[in-house]
């Protein structure tokens, strides 16, 4: 195992974030605060409690999920896409690092950043509402698994994309709508049929539901189902990544 190689990639990726601190940390904090001011305080005061908890508190898990997903994907996809784009990927291809080590470096860094961001959002939320977390360990498990899986997904996206448009089209046209329609900011049983049923085909619903359960012990689907779906997604991504590297897809000609 080339531990130094993994560390080099990991540190390089983390350093990239440090250089863009405003964009990667300050921006999400400000956005989150805006959500609380607009939805929590202004509109939320006119919305009844959802499933027995205040609207401001209800949206915390959804907000964390939104940030985890978009950040994991953009961090990991950009991390591997950029070296391809500028050509510096030659060095990684000529280095004694295996597929697994490259993934550990890039995905590890992307997931770490997403988790740090998730925690920052949690802390930000604490300034606006009275936070209660029923199952902190399960909360961390959900946050970690989500960050890891979507970093893997982002990594695949970054390898597949051969222009900037492809890189941004998936997050904006697929992931963001799924998050908004996945019960992040409302309970799906507030929806009329058939939308309630349709929502259950949205994979993000299972993630948000699981995370919300770890906070307030309320969920739309069973926790085990949430856990299973995130694991299935993670292993599917792993399989794809493994295949990509075995065949050298789009990296080695």
């Amino acid at each position: 195992m080339n531990i130094y190689g993994i560390m080099a990639i990991y540190k390089f990726e983390m350093a990239r974030t440090r250089r863009t601190l405003v964009q990667s940390i300050v921006a999400p904090v400000i956005t989150t605060s805006l959500y609380f001011i607009v939805f929590g305080a202004a509109i939320g005061s006119r919305i009844d409690q959802v499933d027995g908890i205040s609207y401001g508190a209800f949206i915390v898990p959804g907000l964390i999920m939104l940030n985890l997903l978009t950040n994991s994907i953009s961090n990991a996809s950009f991390g591997i896409y950029f070296p391809k784009f500028v050509g510096t990927v030659y060095e990684m291809l000529s280095a004694p690092v295996s597929t697994l080590e490259v993934i550990l470096g890039y995905v590890g860094a992307a997931a770490s950043k997403a988790v740090i961001l998730g925690i920052i959002i949690l802390i930000t939320a604490g300034f606006f509402i009275d936070l209660q977390i029923a199952h902190p360990v399960m909360m961390m498990v959900f946050i970690l698994l989500t960050a890891l899986s979507f970093s893997l997904f982002g990594f695949i996206l970054g390898i597949w994309a051969d222009n900037f448009e492809k890189l941004s089209v998936v997050p904006t046209l697929l992931v963001t709508p799924l998050v908004f329609l996945g019960g992040s900011f409302y309970s799906t049983d507030m929806l009329p049929e058939p939308w309630q049923t349709v929502s259950h085909f949205n994979p993000v619903l299972y993630l948000v539901s699981g995370l919300r359960w770890s906070f307030y012990e309320i969920s739309e689907v069973s926790v085990m189902l949430s856990l299973a779906s995130i694991l299935i997604f993670m292993f599917s991504c792993l399989a794809v990544v493994y295949y990509l590297f075995k065949t050298g897809y789009k990296l080695r000609s």
């Binding site: 080339n2 130094y4 080099a8 990239r16 060095e91 990684m92 004694p96 295996s98 080695r252």
Partner: protein, 312 residues
């Protein structure tokens, strides 16, 4: 060069087809001995970069085998890649990293524990030490190329590939590069470089290879090539036709043209005595008069151009 039992690089029956079916390398066989400097010459698109990329692991070979220090580049990729350094043809660097960090990154990527003292040594030898904290994007093109060399040397490789190290580099930096290459050779590093400058090959290479259309069409020790290069011909246009070369001049190995109007004398400029003065004296004695004379010399450039044209 004797064919060593254990060459540092052995390429056997290597073929490369790019997707789309284009064959960039055709049955390449090549051995490179430890510690030698091989210069690969060839026109644009000949396959030089492709050949290097296969050895370094950037391009997958279609068939054939490559071993470095006795290890297969695919089965034992960790072993082979950790002893190879590569300076790519294109100036591809990160922009926002500092010089020191990007070189340290390379060392780690190649599996070596951090060694600030080694990085310092490399940066000093490339006159980059005072730029160590500068962002790469603030450097000039020549400095960026040196950063790429520093990255390639960061993990103490024993085989170094330089893909057109002096393209777009000014005369003084070119001389610096040659000096760096010589010093590395002294440390025992094997160096394979590609170039379009024939004088560069003459200056530093032990062997010269010419590649065209994916085939190696010549590979020879530079000194032997230079010997060929050192040969000059003196051509004498005679005033009167000559039936045969007089016996008294047999020692000169003169060639007489068919019409008997031209004598050709081949001599070596590397020798102290070329024999030209004696030849002219002897011609006078034999009463052979000439109208005109000129000399011709085949340069490495000519050899190269002819070879490439013949094989195309």
């Amino acid at each position: 060069m004797k064919s060593d039992e254990n060459p540092i690089l052995r390429i056997t029956a290597l073929n490369k087809f790019y997707s789309g079916g284009f064959q960039a390398l055709k049955d390449i066989n090549l051995q490179i001995e430890r510690g030698e400097i091989l210069a690969l010459l060839g026109p644009n698109g000949a396959g030089k970069t492709t050949l290097i990329s296969v050895v370094c692991g950037i391009v997958n070979p279609s068939s054939g085998s490559v071993s470095v220090d006795g290890f297969d580049i695919i089965k034992d990729f960790r072993k082979t890649r950790s002893i190879i350094g590569l300076v790519p043809q294109e100036l591809t660097t990160d922009s926002f990293e500092t010089v020191f960090n990007t070189v340290s990154f390379s060392r780690g990527l190649f599996g070596k524990p951090p060694s600030p003292s080694h990085i310092e040594k490399v940066l000093r030898s490339l006159s980059l030490w005072d730029k160590k904290d500068n962002m790469i994007m603030t450097l000039s093109g020549g400095m960026k190329r040196r950063v790429l060399i520093a990255k390639a040397l960061s993990h103490e490789p024993t085989v170094l590939f330089l893909d057109e190290p002096t393209a777009g580099v000014d005369v003084s930096l070119r001389k610096d590069m040659w000096q760096i290459v010589r010093e590395l050779k002294e440390e025992g590093v094997t160096i394979i470089l590609t170039t379009h400058y024939i004088e560069e090959a003459e200056e530093i290479a032990d062997r010269v290879g010419v590649i065209n259309n994916g085939e190696i069409i010549l590979i020879e020790e530079k000194d032997k090539l230079m010997e060929k290069l050192g040969k000059k011909q003196l051509i004498l246009d005679l005033r009167d036709s000559l039936a045969s070369v007089p016996d008294s001049m047999a020692d000169y190995n003169l060639e007489l043209s068919e019409d008997g109007m031209q004598l050709t004398y081949t001599f070596n400029t590397q020798r102290d005595r070329t024999g030209i003065t004696a030849l002219i004296d002897d011609l006078k004695l034999a009463d052979i008069a000439f109208r005109d004379l000129n000399t011709t010399q085949s340069s490495l450039e000519d050899i190269f151009v002819n070879l490439v044209e013949e094989s195309s």
